[in-house]
Each structure stands twice: as C-alpha cells, then as structure tokens.
Symmetry: C2
Subunit: 353 residues, 2 copies
C-alpha cells in the first residue's frame, strides 16, 4: 500500500480528508493540513500529477506567458526572474507549480495561448506583454480561463490586472526635469503597440500640460527597447536643431546605447544632457553616470500577481478575499548622477550646486 | 463525431495512422503526415493533452530547468531566451511543448528536480547551470529520465551534454593578450562552484603555460557574475601593487561595473587596461569602449540541445541518429575597442598602430 491510502491509515483520517488537505482545500483545518503535509513529506509522497489532472479536471500548474523580446514586454529578463520568484512563493502554499510558457519568436501570441488552452496544460495563466488591444485577453475571456494580466490593456472584460505605474513615473520624472529648469524634454518609448508605451507617454504629456509646456511630437523618440534603441535615440537627439536638454527612457538598457552615442559626440550624459530611466536595477547603479530611476520590489510584484490570480479562481478565492484586483503599483525614486544638471531660465546649463 | 475519428474519416485513413501522424511517429510517411497535419489544422483539432498523457504514459512536454541567478548559470537571461527559441523550433516538429521550470531562489535544485519527476510534468529535461558535482544529474541518471545537460559536469553517467567552449575562449583570449604584449593578465571568474568557472580557468592556465608565463593565483578574481562583480574585480585590480595590464571577464555584464570602477580611478578601459569579455551581445556592441568578445548563435545552441535530447529518447531517437552527444561548441572572435592597446616588451603601454 502506498501514497494517499497509506497516509490516511498512518494518520488515522479519511482518504478524502488527506486528499483535500494535499490539494489545499479550505474545508480542512490548518492543523490537519499541517499533519498531512508533514507525514506526506516524511514518506516522500508526491501526488501523481497526470492521474490527478484527469480525475480532478485540473493540472495544479499555473502558466506564465512570457514573450522573449524586450521590445514587446518593455522589461529585461532579470525583471521576470524576480517576478517568477514571488509568484512561486504564493503558489507553493497550495502545491501549485509555476510553468513558464515562452511564446516562440515567430509564433502568433494568440495562437500560442490557444494551444496552451487546448492542451489543458495549466489551471490558470499570468499573461504579460499586454497589447493596447490584446486578442489573447479576448480569447481567455470567452473561454472563461482564469488569468491575470501583468499590464493594463484597453481590451474590455472582467479580469484582474496589475501594472507598474508607468504614467506616475513618467509624470514624476517630467516634474523633476521641469523643476531642474528643463523645458525641452525628450522621451524614448517603444516603437510597437505595447500598452505601457501609451501609458508612459500619457503621463509625460499630462505633466507637461501641468507645467504649461506645449507637447512637441518631435521630442517623442520611438525606438527599440534595447541598447540599440538607446543609441538611435541619442542619434535623433543630437540631430535636432534645438537640442533637448533632458531625456526620459522607458527602459534602462537604452541608457547604454544612449550614453555611447552621446559620448561619441562629446556630449556628456548627466552634465550636458539629463537622463532619467525607468526601473532601478544593478545596471543603473553601475553605469557611468549612475542612472536616476525608480525602484520596485519584483518579488512583491510576483506575490501580488499570484494572489490576484488565485483570488479569481473558485478553488482558492476564499484564501484571497480581495475581489477583482485592478492595481497600479507605485515606484520609488532612486537618485543617480545622470540628471544632476540644471538649466537656468536663460537656457544656460549649470552644474547643480 | 469529432477529433481524431473525424480526421480519419475525412482523410479515409485509419485512426491509428492519424494518431501516429499526429504524434510524430516515424512509421508514417512524410506525405501522410503532411495531409493529416493540414486537415487537423483546418478543423482546429488539438489533442487533449491530459487524456493523451495518461493513455500514452507521457506528457508531450519537455522541461527546461532554469535557475534565475546569473551567478549559477554564468549567463544572462537574453542568453536563455535565444536558446528557448531554438529548442522550440525542434520540439514543434513533434508537437512537443517547451515548459520552462524556474527553480525557486530558495529551493534546493535537487529537490526541485525531484518534484518535477514525481509530478510527471515532462517527458524529458534540459538541465542548465550544471555544477562541477551535480546531484540533479545523479538523480536523473538513477531514475532513467531522459535529459541533456547544458554545461559539462564531472558527475559521471551516460547522458548527452553540450557546452560552450569556455576553455577555448579563455585560451584564445589569453593568446590574444600575450600576442599584444601583455604578461600580467587577470581573469574574473564566478565565486561559486558552477562548472564553467573551472573550465574557463583551466583554458586560461593552459594558455599561460603554452607561453611560458607562470600562473599567479593573485590574478584570479573570484567575483559575482554581475555588474557588481565587475566593479569588485576592478577594485581588486586597482589595489594590486603590480597592476595587471589586461583582464578577461567570464560574463559580459561584469564589464559595466569594471568600466565604472576603472573610470572612477581615471584608468581607461581599452587604453590603460585591455578587457576581453565572453559572449558577444548587444551589450558588448554599445558599451564605451565596445567589448571584444566571442559570438555564438543562441538559436543553434537550442536546436542542438533539443536534438541531443530527442536522440536519447526511444520515441524520437530514429529521427536523430547522432548517438550520445557530447559536444563543445566553438565561438567566434568579435573584435571591439576594449583591447586595442598593446604593451611593449619594456612594459610601456602604447596605442595599437
């Protein structure tokens, strides 16, 4: 005799209770669950996933749809690694596994999701790299598959989402530049239709309006979210007749290419042009000049994503009585050396005292 | 009537043949397979994965064990994204899905693999971040689970592996530095027991021996595989009495921190200290100075990994008659601006003509 039957006998409780305890059901007391888990761990018991999947109609796996191209996510991969770790912290409470499902580069993202659904690989999904109009969201909505979106979308539906405060960061960065005397502030955003580009740009525009500065479309640099995109942004910046004195970057890797292009032209970032990045990382701390940017705990983003998803799944909802989560997560300024210049009213650049 | 039965009727071939064609079996002709695939796609048929898994005893998924910390893999995440894409190219031929299984940061890597096996989540595994002595490999060997290792290990067993030519790159880079006149060449390697660190260091030592240069343990900088590790390497370099004139970096992100630390001290990388990185990437192309490093196609690494794995799996072996793959992949030099200095016999530094 082995597995669940032996556990039940050893613990002198019913097979049904053991099963519900192992599956994280809420009608089992914390104490019983702890006893079962401990005994299961001691005897090295792990449920047969494939068998359980058919019997219960679920897989005990949560999928994370991941697109490789930074251009579509706006985030580097260290971003996702931090997020995965937080997601796993929550899933492990319920013996759920995280499986990351990278969308092949030449695959259609919607077909990728359709295949995952058809193959019944997971019980719920975390969808990243949301588009402004996202047919994956439509598809999941229609099919009634539980999911949470990392990144807002204008595609309607009653699904949970979380997002980083792209508008808030763009607004704060613009305020900061204006306070330092800058009036011509460029902004580098992705050239594709990833929604965070729209949100970031909107935050920038609204901040300009607050300060009575007219929006100049010439100052919007649409480039790839990469080192190369940053180089391109630097190039466009340098070729303008009335060169901007500051530039906001939506993605930190852009700073590497931007710094290079400016240095090639003898223009020093942080002294001749103020630069502000988006997410603070070890990259921003070790560039020269260090990059002023905004900090967020990636692990906590992952924890919140997983909790928002489980809150929307009938089997787990009562552990997470938070309803339908729509949440914009704030980021905290980390001052670097990249924007210590200020521009006087006369337009003359001076070193910050 | 739907699914496989309808396909068989529409195409007027047996259900068994349709099934074998859908499962990528080799006893079905290319022509028949193409007809079945086309018809299946036209009617939107996708096999029920959970059902098929129990009947066939497999999952049609291949797992990629992925550790988040660059320190344990020696690679950034853009590395893995490129590799995933090549793996998927091969798996899609057989309607196999790639599921990436990130090892939680605070989880024991061996327990992680044990759990994946117990849950029968995948038919085969790609294991990365191999340790010099790797108990995951022991475990998989004992259990008879098909797997391929990305990175050699000294753990014995008859399993396929692929590796990047860390020894070859370290040797070539050392040769290059010696040819440019350098005699005191430092090397930055990971501070943990990831096997690629040993292999890289061995290549460096052998090259020194070829040139009759004594190995000096002081020149081995054991640091984290990160920007911060590079900064630390720069710091150690600057504090040496007889400062090295060249440094080899096992990981390209280290260059960011190294450049910063050198610049802080008024020591210019590429002019005062020659620097060579490992893998060429958009990072190395946009740093100032651009980083001399070595190129490899990540997609082709992924293709080879998947093929080596399938060659070891009874269901697919006949498509890949390559036997047990043990292969070290070469990389190609991409010259940057970071090592254009040469040192004359007298030890005086001059600009390369």
């Amino acid at each position: 005799m082995k597995g669940i039957k032996r556990l039940a006998q050893d613990l002198n409780i019913s097979i049904g209770t053991v099963s519900r305890a192992l599956n994280g059901k809420s009608d089992v007391s914390q104490e019983t669950r702890a006893r079962v888990m401990e005994a299961a761990a001691a005897m090295g018991y792990v449920p047969n996933q494939a068998g359980r999947s058919l019997r219960k109609g679920n897989t005990n796996a949560i999928g994370f749809i991941y697109e490789g191209e930074v251009g579509t996510t706006g985030h580097g991969d260290t971003f996702f690694l931090g997020v995965f770790s937080g997601v796993q912290d929550v899933l492990s409470r319920h013996h759920l596994d995280l499986v990351v499902l990278p969308c092949p580069r030449d695959d259609d993202p919607t077909e990728h999701v359709r295949r995952i659904m058809a193959r019944r690989m997971v019980d719920g999904l975390i969808v990243s790299a949301t588009r402004r109009k996202d047919s994956r969201i439509e598809l999941l909505n229609r099919a009634g598959i539980p999911f949470v979106a990392l990144g807002r979308s204008s595609t309607p539906g009653t699904y949970p989402w979380l997002d980083l405060d792209f508008a808030g960061v763009a607004g704060q960065a613009t305020d900061r530049m204006v306070a330092a005397g800058h009036r011509r502030i460029a902004v580098a955003v992705p050239s594709n239709d990833v929604n965070l580009g729209f949100v970031y740009l909107e935050g920038y525009k609204q901040a300009l309006a607050r300060h009575g500065i007219a929006f100049d479309p010439e100052l919007v640099l649409r480039v790839a979210s990469s080192e190369e995109g940053g180089y391109q942004a630097g190039h466009e910046l340098l070729s303008m007749d009335n060169r901007p004195t500051a530039v906001l970057l939506i993605y930190e890797l852009m700073a590497i290419g931007l710094y290079r292009r400016l240095n090639e032209a003898g223009v020093r970032p942080g002294r001749d042009v103020a630069v502000v990045g988006f997410r603070e990382s070890s990259l921003s701390r070790f560039l020269s000049p260090t990059l002023t940017s905004y900090r967020i705990s990636l692990r906590s983003v992952g924890v919140m994503l997983a909790e928002a998803l489980l809150a929307s799944m009938p089997d787990y909802a009562e552990h997470y009585p938070m309803g339908l989560v729509h949440r914009v997560l704030p980021l905290e300024l980390v001052e670097g050396e990249s924007d210590t210049t200020f521009v006087s009213a006369a337009g003359r650049r001076e070193r910050d005292p």
